[in-house]
Amino acid sequence: MIWLIAKKDFILNLTSSRFVIGFLLCLVIIPFTMVVSVDGYKNQMRVYEVDRAEALKKWQEVKVYSAVRPEIVKEPEALGIFTRGIEGNMGNSLTIRLGEYPLLLTGHAGTRDNPLLNAFFSIDFTTVIAILMSLLALVFSFDLFTREREEGTMKLVFTNGVSRSAFLMAKFLGVFITLVPILFFSFMLSTLIVVLNPAIAFSSAEWLGIILLFGAAILYLMVFILLGMVISAWSKKSSTAIVVSLLAWVWLLFLVPDIAYYSSQSVSKVAPYDNVLYSLDELDRVFREKTDEKWGEIQKQMGLDGIGHWNWSGGYDGYDELYGCTWETNEFHRRLNAWREPARLDNADKKWTFQKEWLDGLQRQERTRQVMSWLSPSEIFQQIASSLCRTSPESYLNYMQRIREYRATLIAYFHGKKLFESFSYFTQQDPKTFLTIAKTQQMEEEGFFDSKNFKVPPYWEGSYYLPLNLDDVPKFTFQKQNAAGSLKASLGLVVGLLSLGIALFLVVIGVFQKYDVR
């Protein structure tokens, strides 16, 4: 009996103009969005390849350990094609330094080559699904009861021994089997567009992610059908029901997320990063002053008037590379680095407390926004989707956490190899070939440095040396979350959406028991 009524509704729906319009909308909007997204992803991928090649090149040119600055380039998320999440807001790369904790990615942000070109249409597949499916669900369900009542068919149905709950189930099923094919078609169409692109290949975990996304979309669809049914069961007239449905739709899809976005900023305030920068600059200034002090101190210890260099490059960030310098100069640098680099790490720790506080603030703010927007099923769905597609703020922060852990591993490696207190930290020149000041003075007296016959030894030049073999140095590896992991991450939200559906179901049962069929 349930199936009979559902089938009847299904057939009537198929021939209705709303079905045709809904289907056509999907047919037009989805390919369009997907083409834009795929194009964006391919752009990101190109940028990624270039940046990664550059990073590799830099890595292969390192000649001293003080120049080791691993550059992390984040691979774009293939599933970002479906759910962009915060992928477009973030940079794609970051250079690991001793003096700084990795905070946020910098480098190329977004996907467009031309920042002046303002996209007039830049929503992703999930957003399209969230908007279209909720609209279709309401459009098909707002008059489920009111129409049968207005057309007088409800009376006839109920004179045939149909119970109210059976009728309700049938009505739900009728809309459900009408819309699931549209949803399925949308997913098929979008994956087809992706699959037809030879540049894009999904891993099995990503395929599973897409399937789970489809599951979440079905759940989302059900919630909106039930919402439409509640509205229909509450209204006596279709005209009231459609107005209420549209208001609810605008409220849930657009106003709630917007309100959540703005009020999270006032509820959970975050000071501008400039304030943090001010404290960081202050700490860096103190560190530099101490370094200058230490410089003088070591110089005094070694009884030197000044430090002469033959060939020296360096920077405030700890990079230090010298060749052809005296034994004293080399020893001075060794002692300075042995103090300065651990001190730099300490300074980074101090700076991190400020940065972490700021980052926690950002996270809290985002969390507040998320929780507030749970009032909207579409936001819950979007959050599940970005979690499944690994483009959620949480995935991003997790990635940053891995990078920070990697930095710690790298530092441990430096400590383990005692690199900070070794000559190889700043030179490849064999310490046996370091000349003492006394020796150089003697050689000068002997006329060794006379321009006529002096030839600079090749090992006094950086170009003499090959880059370091860094095979031993730990590399950053990132184990992408598998589908089970992303499912776990979004399980709470899935359960939330499910409970919302169940709650609406109970409400519609309750309301419809008293529905006046006349």
Binding site: M1, L4, I5, K8, L12, T15, S16, E151, G152, T153, K155, L156, V157, F158, T159, N160, G161, V162, S163, D516, V517, R518
Partner: protein, 246 residues
């Protein structure tokens, strides 16, 4: 068999639409319920179909309590409403098919549907036409066809002749007579005194929620039914006049 015992219905707004109504329609009987607009005829039907709950009293269909076992009683009753509305995007045959299946008749063929549509006088070329193109009378006939297909023991009709042309109306009377001969109980609410005289076995007149007159065929054929009816209505007018004066 349809039965109403001491049946009262007070609507939410306080209006007493039915006041201790007693009614019994036996198998093989056509009962015509007459009464002015607002007398309570449709209310009675809605109570039998459990669309609304009685305030007090009891209803049974084939001896089964309507309020206690609404789903079971629906098996034994078919209904033709005042203004039959069906699924506009379905053809007449599809509507018949849907409701026949819903009523548990799953083994009917296209031929059966055509036969029953012929029997209610629907023109052949309309069988496969979408219902939204039908006139009121044509819809009424399809509604009747659905009721006949269900083949329930009791048939309830609410002003079924409204919208029917005279020929169709008299055909309807013939169909009702046939159903009676098969042993069905038929409750028909109407304003059509003329038709009552042709087939009704018993006639009741309702006024303000009460059954004010009950006559069987011999009785109302002896007297002039029209006169009786107007007599009872007259009283109402006089009563109202008296009210106005005081």
């Amino acid at each position: 068999m349809l039965q109403a015992i001491e049946l009262s219905k007070r609507y939410e707004d306080g209006h007493l639409a039915l006041d201790s109504l007693n009614l019994e329609i036996k198998p093989g009987e056509i009962f015509f319920l007459l009464g002015a607009n607002g007398a309570g005829k449709t209310t009675t039907i809605n109570l039998f179909l459990n669309f609304i709950d009685p305030t007090s009293g009891m209803l049974t269909i084939n001896g089964i309590d309507v309020v206690k076992q609404p789903l079971l009683t629906k098996k034994y009753v078919s209904f033709v409403s005042e203004n039959v509305m069906l699924y506009g995007n379905f053809s007449a045959r599809q509507n018949l098919d849907f409701f026949a299946n819903l009523g548990g008749k799953t083994n009917l063929t296209r031929k059966d549907y055509y036969n029953v549509m012929r029997s209610v006088g629907l023109q052949e070329d309309a069988f496969e036409k979408k219902l939204k193109t039908f006139s009121k009378g044509m819809r009424q006939k399809v509604g009747l066809a659905i009721a006949i297909l269900k083949d329930a023991d009791n048939v309830i009709l609410d002003e079924p002749t409204s919208g029917l042309d005279p020929k169709s109306a008299s055909e309807l009377m013939q169909i009702l007579a046939n159903l009676r001969n098969k042993g069905k109980s038929i409750l028909m609410c109407t304003h059509d005194i003329f038709r009552a005289k042709t087939v009704a076995d018993r006639v009741g007149i309702m006024k303000e929620g009460r059954l004010v007159m009950l006559r069987n065929r011999e009785e109302f054929l002896q007297d002039d039914l029209e006169k009786i009816y107007l007599h009872y209505m007259q009283e109402a007018i006089m009563f109202d006049d008296a009210n106005l004066k005081s």
